[in-house]
């Protein structure tokens, strides 16, 4: 009975971990604005976690530079399964305008399985909420499959 209660509660409170993989800061600001009272993702249960070990959803911004790649992978590997990886903006999906640069190791999907892509440069806060809602759904499916 408690397990069921915990499973239901966890589905309503997915914690986010935000990784900046060499982003221009545009997407980071949009992600922070999602958590402000204006868009208030916290009313839907989303909360920024300070440590990857506490997180359910990983939000990656930036084109994954060669400097940040080992740190990104290390942080993601610390997130307990089942986890959901969300790429925010065009950069982690394709490299965007930075693709072909000597210091860009992306896209992120070369290294880990990406569950949700939120396109935009930078995406609107509403689009981020859409993406996070989809990620929560995927997370729930993954928990049930486990």
């Amino acid at each position: 009975m408690f397990k069921k209660l915990i499973a239901e509660s966890m589905g309503k409170s997915p914690w986010l971990f935000h990784i900046n993989a060499g982003s221009c800061n545009g997407c980071d600001i949009e992600l922070v604005s999602v958590l402000t009272p204006r868009y208030d993702a916290e009313r839907l249960g989303f909360k920024l976690a300070g440590s990857p070990r506490h997180a359910d959803i990983v939000v990656v911004t930036g084109p994954v530079t060669t400097q940040s790649l080992p740190r990104v992978l290390r942080a993601i590997s610390q997130v307990p399964e089942p986890r959901c990886i969300v790429t925010m903006g065009s950069c982690p999906q394709s490299g965007n305008v930075f693709k072909g640069s000597y210091s860009v190791a992306g896209p992120l999907s070369k290294y880990v399985h990406v569950d949700v892509d939120v396109a935009g440069c930078a995406p609107k806060p509403q689009a981020v909420i859409d993406g996070l809602a989809l990620a929560t759904k995927i997370l729930k499916e993954k928990r049930e499959a486990k």
Binding site: D40, S94, G100, D115, D117, G120, P123, Q126
Partner: protein, 209 residues
């Protein structure tokens, strides 16, 4: 005892929330927001300008031979797009449109591709005009290889030209006149300054100077 903010606190408690309440309340993007790309293949003339100006290499063009001519497919990868709208600005036929749709969330990369295709028909060859009446000094119309002129003025290769009118738009002297319907390219030699802007602007590189 003094409670300084009681009035403010009570007021805020009963006032409307400042939260946008998305997704319960749907929200529209601001006017001129650059969201999902809509491509109109029926307007496109395959000049390739969008592909050249794209900073994120988000636009790819592929062609395959079909019965009626050439099937051109343009694909816009929204996962690689900066939404700068330079492609739409450079499109002389307004075939690329940025809409206010910002819901671009996908689980697969293919979901973020916007593509469209059209069939480009080969130009209908007109029967050669009767020559004998023309004076002998006039150059033979439609001579096979187009050679650059000696006087530094541009010359057009009609076999490559798509009549996109970009050269006429770019010409600082207004010396070029291109009619897309009639497929004519005329140069006002008196106005032309021989700057080469038209040759630079030509997406097909069919203007020689």
């Amino acid at each position: 005892m003094d409670f300084p903010f009681v009035k403010e606190a009570v007021k805020q408690l009963f006032s409307k929330t400042s939260c946008a309440m998305y997704p319960a309340v749907p929200s529209e993007a601001a006017p001129h927001y650059r969201g999902r790309i809509v491509y109109h293949p029926e307007l496109c003339i395959n000049c390739g300008m969008c592909e050249r100006v794209c900073s994120g290499n988000a636009i790819t063009r592929s062609s395959e031979k079909v019965e009626e001519g050439e099937k051109i497919t343009m694909t816009f990868n929204l996962g690689s797009c900066t939404f700068c709208a330079t492609c739409a600005d450079f499109c002389s036929r307004h075939a690329i449109e940025f809409t206010g749709d910002y819901h671009m969330v996908a689980t697969k990369e293919e979901d973020l591709l916007v593509s469209g295709s059209f069939i480009k028909k080969p130009p209908v060859k007109k029967p050669a005009p009767p020559k004998p009446a023309a004076p002998a000094a006039a150059p033979a119309a439609g001579a096979a290889p187009v050679k650059p002129r000696d006087d530094g003025k541009p010359v057009n290769d009609p076999s490559k030209c798509v009549y996109c009118t970009l050269c006429a738009k770019k010409c600082p002297a207004g010396a070029l006149e291109v009619d897309r319907a009639a497929k004519t390219w005329t140069l006002d030699e008196d106005k032309c300054v021989g700057c080469g802007t038209c040759a630079e602007a030509c997406p097909k590189k069919c203007i020689l100077i």
